[in-house]
Symmetry: none
Subunit: 116 residues, 2 copies
DNA sequence: ACCTATTTGTCCGTATGTATG
DNA sequence: CCATACATACGGACAAATAGG
């Protein structure tokens, strides 16, 4: 488990932390059940504030990728498993939308309002 | 515009603020284009911290209900665009993901990592 | 059943950055 | 150029759930 950030990046720190974990899940380096280091540990390692890490963790929780429990820590959630497969079709959709001038962010917004 | 909270409630303050605004939108008391009072004003009125209000506002933004702009304030967002065709395939993908136990929010997060 | 340490959750305060008007 | 208002980050404090002794 390696969470990395780039102080020079224009992206917010909390977003970088979330993105780093997300990438590890997509790449299969993190699988359901795996535990992330505690927010405090990550914060100390990266030399950033605990709240910044917690914000990243909570964002991932909102995305359904992380299971957070007080006193227990952060665990990759079960629903994070079949992501690699979906990622392929997702890219196709994004490409198609892009050709229509629809930005990924717009698609993402649409997606949140889509009921299955 | 009246945002109310209950100090005795077990629900978090930021959630109560978000819920209050959400209710007003659902009830039609707030329509697209309407401006919310600034976070600082709400905080002072309710005697809570600005961050607590901002957190509520940002959650509503993540839900697609609010449009936040620096220096301008918080505006109820216009309902989503047409994109009917795209929405159809989108729903199919969401349904497929759902069958795999993957939440829409997870897909939306994935999208951020997808390059077109 | 009790106590303690751990770890996330919330809230407050402060400071600085940045887009808007 | 300047005031406004959201955005991010840091710091501290206490609460609440969990796990372990």
């Amino acid at each position: 488990m390696l969470i990395t950030i780039d102080a020079e990046s224009a992206h917010p720190l909390f977003e970088q932390v979330a993105s780093s974990v997300r990438g590890d899940i997509l790449a299969g380096r993190l699988v359901p059940g795996d535990r992330l280091p505690t927010a405090r540990d990550v914060a100390e390692t990266l030399e950033i504030n605990v709240h910044t890490v917690l914000r990243a963790y909570q964002q991932l929780r909102d995305e359904g990728l992380l299971d957070l429990r007080r006193g227990r820590g952060a665990v990759i959630s079960a629903s994070a498993a079949p992501l690699a497969d979906l990622a392929h079709d997702l890219q196709a959709l994004v490409a198609r939308a892009s050709a229509l001038g629809v930005a990924p962010a717009t698609l993402a917004a649409l997606m949140k309002e889509t009921r299955s």
